[in-house]
């Protein structure tokens, strides 16, 4: 990781002069801390990472970290990131967005990214609510959750992102918790190291709008899969059950990891020559052009 053995990246390198506009106690603070920690530990410098977000409170993280960033449009960061990663396979790409952005409006891209397996890390700030628009229910809200758009309680059953990712073919599925940034940093590191698409769904409270899924609630209702001993995330049969756990206790940690499938960029011959920035400046050679024209004669 990183491009030279000499430099040592620290958390301070990622400090931004822009103060977060997040509410006090927001889980995004923990996620930001964890991301900076992970990048520094991996010796990835600010110019070597591209953080791509959608729209929402959490997506503003791009403004609060000193690194390359791109806040795109609601639901679309995975698509933008995939295009970016396919044009520059040397940059570390991290996608970060909320549960609505990732699993609602972005749901279609989420499913296809899981099976496409581009080399990028996806951190989902899952607070089970739409916060920036002031508190509507989301695809991961509990059934019965009352909000302004669900005054009689959310009518649908929530999706379980880890289960959906597994069914769609994702090769790295993890769940973290914003209240435990050290462990979350380790998960993010594992995700960045993973060659291919890595999903880290992060439980986080929205202290302003979600009075049900609080820090206390998450801590009471979750457990660490590594702590139970003997859980092997490489075992697909065990993982098939683990990714479906939610109602009793929510598993945290790496739930599934496979390393036997190529990441998408490995399947693209045109990327063998490196980033497309350079080849885009080069004209075709005369012989090739003549051949191309000949095919029309």
């Amino acid at each position: 990781m990183g491009d030279t053995a000499v430099k040592k990246v620290t958390v301070k390198d990622f400090a931004s002069e822009h103060r977060p506009t997040w509410c006090p106690g927001c889980g995004d603070f923990g996620i930001l801390t964890a991301l900076k920690r992970a990048l520094a530990d991996l010796n990835i410098a600010p110019h070597e990472v591209m953080v791509i977000s959608g729209i929402g409170c959490g997506s503003k993280l791009v403004d609060y970290i000193h690194a390359n960033g791109f806040m795109t449009i609601h639901g679309r960061p995975l698509a933008v990131a995939t295009g970016f990663a396919l044009a520059n396979p040397h940059m570390h790409v991290v996608v970060i967005n909320g549960d609505g952005d990732a699993y609602g409006i972005g749901g279609n891209h989420f499913i296809h990214t899981c099976r496409r397996n581009p080399n990028l890390t996806h951190i989902v700030q899952n607070n089970q609510i739409y916060a920036l628009t002031k508190g509507q229910y989301s695809p991961t809200s509990h059934r019965g959750f009352r909000t302004t758009t669900s005054p009689d309680g959310a009518p649908e059953w929530p999706i379980l992102p880890t289960e959906l990712a597994f069914a769609a073919g994702a090769g790295f599925i993890a769940r973290g918790y914003a209240g435990a940034p050290q462990q979350l940093a380790e998960l993010i590191k594992a995700g960045i190291r993973h060659k291919g698409y890595a999903l880290i769904d992060v439980l986080q409270p929205c202290t302003t709008f979600n009075k049900v899924n609080t820090y206390e609630w998450y801590e009471e209702n979750s457990y660490d899969v590594a702590a139970e001993g003997g859980y092997d995330p490489a075992d697909p049969k065990a993982a098939a059950d683990k990714v479906r756990e939610w109602d009793e206790k929510i598993p945290l940690g790496v739930l599934f990891r496979r390393t036997d499938r190529p990441s998408y960029d490995e399947l693209v011959p045109a990327l063998a020559q490196g980033p497309l920035m350079h080849s885009s400046s080069l004209p075709l050679d005369e012989a090739t052009f003549a051949d191309l024209k000949e095919e029309f004669m």
Binding site: H18, A45, P46, H47, E48, M50, V51, I52, I55, K60, V62, D63, H66, A67, N68, G69, F70, M71, T72, I73, R76, A79, V80, A81, T82, G83, F84, A85, L86, A87, N88, H90, M91, N108, H109, I111, H112, V268, P269, A270, L271, Q273, P275, L276, M277, S279, S280, S281, L282, P283, L284, E286, T288, F289, L292, K293, F296, M297
Partner: protein, 589 residues
């Protein structure tokens, strides 16, 4: 009947090989050194339904099909019914002698010569009913005294990957058809179109654009298949490994355009291609590119709308949509090449404009231009014409020299900011679709908003210098000017020639750059016209409305066509005569 201009229609059901045999005839014509223009007509289905392919072979360059045709090759009874009215007096209809519902007397009453032949039986004897179309090609060559050697070469190339037996069977069918044709060629006064010299390329607008894009440094395309734009994508996919182009068939059009935007941010020359409905899905992302000032080339090949509309037919009803798509205001460039040659140029030029002005460039085609095959001199597509200009994209060396903190959206007189592609340690920056300051950080402050809006929109004014004025063709326009945009230029120019031959002085004013425009010059060009007739393929007269919006000029008349079929030169010349009869004399008369 002229020996220099022969049009043939081959018609039948989808699945009968109409497209491939029509294309084969066209390829043979091009190899024989003649000029070609082919029109393809097909339905939104895989099997069944009437299709036809109309080819025109000429000693002079042609930019349009021409009605009526001289020869009709009918693979079904329906073909005769549909097309008999478009066969010239003295022309010939070739059909299977077992077609009960084809009435030879009816054909003769139309002044056309019926030529029934045992096509199905012969095809079956030669190996398969599907070879009826190869027989037909042979008949056509024989009737016209067209050297069958060119068709033999094309057939051999077409079936190169199949078995030797298939090639033999088809060559035998060709030979038999040729014999029949020769035997009957006496019935027809038309003489062969004499081959005029060296072979030419034969290709359609889609392929010309793709070739231009590849030559111009396009190295990324993400797209979703949509008629009639799909061949652009498929050609680049086929050439991807060879040319180092990354291609991605995305899950939907929104993903496609977003991938292209991501790739552009990484410094690739990136594009997508779609039709109207796909472009509708891309509207939001278009605004993203405009807001964050990323280069993007977005091809929209128009087809009959609205909604699913007429998927395989042509229209020009997305002009105003392209000019205004997406919410809010941001700079954009809209091109509408009108010929295959202009498509090649737009292929590389669109990327230069996108990168010079760091903004989306929309290239409008339509099904007629995308799918009509035309001959082009190989030398007309030359790498020495192709320019790759990356505008203010900073090089690694320039970034090394940076002494001040890098400002991605630095305010400049032109509105264009020096652009660092991410990856250099001296240019670490964030972009956002929110309003932002010169660094790229979100801000809602009033003075900054005004500054940024002016900066972005100023780019459009700067870009005017790079945009072309409308071009004049044909006569002097003493009687009338046909005003058009995009692919209509081909039929319009021919209509002007028809009218000139009839003593009416008509010229053509053609717009292939639609925005930004040198407004004063455009207004002056329109002002110099005696009488103006806008000719366009839509119901609401979108070019006419656009010209009035931009220049205040009101045209005298508009010819609308919205039936999904392209203008023929006669459609335009006939209407022009009516308009001239109706319009009051001008002060100059």
């Amino acid at each position: 009947m002229s020996e220099v201009d022969v049009s043939i229609t081959i018609g039948g059901d989808a699945g009968q090989g109409i497209e491939s045999s029509g294309a084969a005839w066209g390829r043979a014509v091009a190899r024989a050194g003649l000029h070609l223009f082919s029109l393809t007509d097909y339905r939104s289905r895989i099997r069944g339904g009437h299709n036809f392919y109309q080819t025109r072979a000429s000693l002079r360059p042609v930019n349009s099909h021409r009605d009526p045709v001289q020869l009709l090759l009918a693979l079904t009874e329906e073909t005769v019914k549909v097309h008999l009215g478009n066969v010239a007096r003295g022309g010939i209809v070739v059909y299977d002698e077992d077609f009960r519902r084809v009435d030879a007397d009816e054909i003769r009453r139309a002044g056309v010569v019926p030529l029934p032949l045992p096509l199905a039986r012969q095809a079956a004897e030669l190996g398969s009913k599907v070879m009826m179309n190869t027989l037909m090609l042979g008949v056509a060559a024989g009737l016209l005294h067209f050297d069958v050697g060119y068709l033999e070469g094309v057939i051999q190339d077409l079936f190169r990957r199949r078995s030797a037996q298939v090639v033999q069977n088809n060559l035998a069918a060709l030979a038999q058809g040729f014999r029949w044709g020769r035997d009957h060629s006496g019935m027809w006064p038309v003489r062969r179109p004499a081959p005029g010299g060296k072979a030419r390329m034969a290709l359609h607008g889609n392929h010309a654009f793709a070739l231009g894009a590849a030559a111009g440094g396009c190295r990324f395309i993400a797209a979703y298949p949509m008629t009639p734009a799909t061949p652009i994508f498929e050609w680049l996919v086929a050439k991807g490994s060879r040319l180092g182009i990354v291609t991605k068939h995305a899950e939907d059009e929104i993903a496609a355009v977003c991938m292209a935007i991501g790739a552009a941010h990484a410094g690739a020359r990136a594009m997508t291609a779609t039709s109207g409905a796909g472009f509708a899905l891309m509207s939001e992302a278009l605004g993203l590119a405009g807001m964050v000032e990323l280069p993007l080339v977005l091809v929209v090949s128009q087809r009959g709308g609205p909604s699913t509309g007429l998927p395989t037919r042509t229209e020009q009803a997305d002009l105003l949509f392209a000019l205004h798509a997406s919410h809010g205001e941001f700079p954009r460039i809209v091109l509408a090449p009108g010929t295959v040659e202009e498509c090649f140029e737009a292929g590389w030029r669109s990327f230069n404009l996108a990168e010079r002005y760091q903004t989306p460039v929309i290239v409008l085609l339509d099904q007629f231009l995308s799918a009509s095959v035309k001959t082009v001199e190989p030398d007309d597509f030359s790498l020495s014409d192709v320019v790759i200009d990356r505008g203010l994209t900073l090089t690694g060396a320039e970034l090394d020299q940076l002494t001040e903190p890098y400002l991605r959206y630095q305010d400049t007189p032109s509105g264009v900011s020096p652009r660092a592609v991410p990856g250099h340690p001296k240019a670490v920056y964030a972009m956002t679709s929110d309003e932002h300051d010169e660094e790229g950080h979100i801000t809602e402050e009033l003075p900054n908003r005004i500054l940024m809006m002016r900066k972005r929109m100023r780019k459009e004014q700067t870009a005017v210098a790079d945009m072309g004025e409308p071009r004049l063709y044909e006569g002097d326009g003493e009687d009338l000017t046909l005003v058009c945009w995009g692919s209509t230029v081909g039929p319009a120019r021919e209509a002007a020639q028809i009218l000139s031959a009839g003593g009416i002085d008509v010229n053509v004013l053609h717009f292939s750059d639609l925005w930004p425009l040198p407004v004063k010059e455009v207004a002056a060009a329109l002002g110099r016209c005696r009488r103006t007739l806008v000719v366009e393929q839509n119901y609401t007269g979108q070019l006419a409305r656009w010209l009035r919006q931009v220049t205040g000029f009101t045209v005298d008349a508009v010819l609308h066509k919205f039936d999904g079929r392209p203008f023929s030169p006669q459609d335009i010349s006939t209407y022009a005569r009516r308009v001239l009869a109706d319009l009051a004399p001008t002060a100059a008369d």
